[in-house]
Point group: C2
């Protein structure tokens, strides 16, 4: 397997960066992650645009243009010959002699095999707990997952699948997913503030707008608990129904019709896009 | 220069870790940093105890005992033959195949030259700005300095030297320093909550207790602005007077007598400790 680091193609097993890098020194870096479907990077333009945004928020100067990054990704895909995979582009704060001030970023592009199940299992829903927290610099996809990783034990102890961040009664997102609700008026709503602009989120909003009312606006925990349907979205999950939050079942505790319909449409979109040469 | 990584002694210029390490993937790692004075690690027992605490908070299993780490540090000092230096021990979340769950930590111990000025320049005081923020898992010295590094530009734009974190009107700490005030009743006060237990802070509190009233308790921004003296402490700064916060001068805008006395006493302690063989 090949990994790309700063203009070099290296054996993935030997892909390393110097310990003076600000990612290791100060957790200062951004990244993006997307899938390939039959060797085609899914929504790559969206992901590269978001990576640019993340880098800009952290004031990191991307050493490559978006088009150059795209070419490198295509070469990576061609070299590794993985059909279904995850590709991660990490842009770090660079090797910092003073261990604190960003320099020229190190750029790391890795590819790993990924298993995706296309079937939407109606029984498959998840349970969430909540935590009072909002991510730092939430519109940037920084590598700061201190709380997400830390909270894994609490999630496990609660027998839940993941954690929903709530701050002053408003929900924002999960460590690696966005959240949506369908309210009693059949409107699809997702939080507008303190969230990462998920790429799956973006396409769900576009798909949903063709058949129901869609809103990006503040969502309270109470809105979640009283919703007809709740689901989360992410690159690796697509859509996943939420059936229970903090021990309280959502509606009747089964995946809802809108969630199922959106999953079907999203899968179709994914197939259409990756069928194009 | 030598660096220690996972039982190996490597050339500092080639000291690297694999990109699957959770420090790079998720900013998940802890560290500690201390000085050597004439080749003697200063307050090493305090720092190793704090490193143990930080690792425990993040649920990282230290692969070495405190005594083993101490021996490695002494060998590092002996190999590198630097008189005045900074030593950093980083304990990461380890190489994670799933890019999210901590595994066996990577342990990195680096040493770098450090210039310390022993003279306390009475003119040398700093200006701070404030930012509404509290560190995540504040009692652990994690590598999460996302806000600290990010705020450097704001600090620079304001012509300040550093930033003081304030949350709901209570001050906690600076990105890399603790804060102290001397109030109008000549009491030395430092925040008790949401702070890293600084090793310099600890020794200042002990020194100060011999000649004035010392309290660890909540401190408001107003307490800071109305103090007789304000100073910050850290391993590389020892004590540094704060003369101005958000454009408002502290007292008469000059370093105070308690600050100067504590600096003198701290320097003496440092010399006494490192004079012992």
């Amino acid at each position: 397997m090949w990994t790309f680091i700063n203009d070099n193609w290296v054996d993935a097993e030997k892909a390393s960066i110097h310990v003076s890098d600000l990612a290791i020194q100060r957790g200062y870096a951004v990244f993006d992650f997307f899938r390939t479907v039959e060797q085609k990077p899914l929504f790559i333009d969206d992901h590269l645009e978001r990576l640019q945004h993340s880098a800009a928020v952290l004031r990191l100067k991307l050493p490559y243009t978006v088009n150059e990054l795209k070419q490198i990704v295509l070469e990576l895909v061609n070299r590794n010959q993985l059909s279904t995979s995850g590709i991660r582009i990490t842009v770090t704060g660079g090797n910092a002699a003073d261990t604190y001030t960003p320099t020229t970023p190190n750029v790391i592009i890795t590819q790993s095999p990924l298993t995706m199940d296309a079937a939407f299992d109606a029984q498959k829903g998840i349970t969430l707990i909540t935590e009072e927290y909002v991510r730092e610099l939430p519109t940037a996809k920084s590598i700061n997952y201190l709380m997400g990783v830390y909270l894994q034990q609490k999630v496990k102890d609660a027998g839940a699948a993941d954690v929903l961040y709530v701050k002053d009664s408003y929900v924002s997102e999960l460590p690696r997913s966005n959240i949506f609700i369908v309210n009693q008026q059949n409107e699809l709503i997702t939080p507008d503030k303190n969230v990462l602009s998920g790429i799956t989120r973006k396409h769900i909003l576009q798909l949903a707008a063709t058949f129901l009312s869609v809103k990006e606006q503040p969502v309270t925990l109470r809105d979640v608990l009283t919703a007809k349907e709740v689901f989360v979205s992410s690159t690796t999950k697509r859509l996943l129904p939420v059936l229970n939050v903090n021990g309280q079942p959502i509606a009747n505790g089964n995946p809802g019709a809108v969630t199922k319909e959106l999953y079907t449409q999203f899968l179709l979109l994914e197939k259409q896009i990756t069928a194009v040469t």
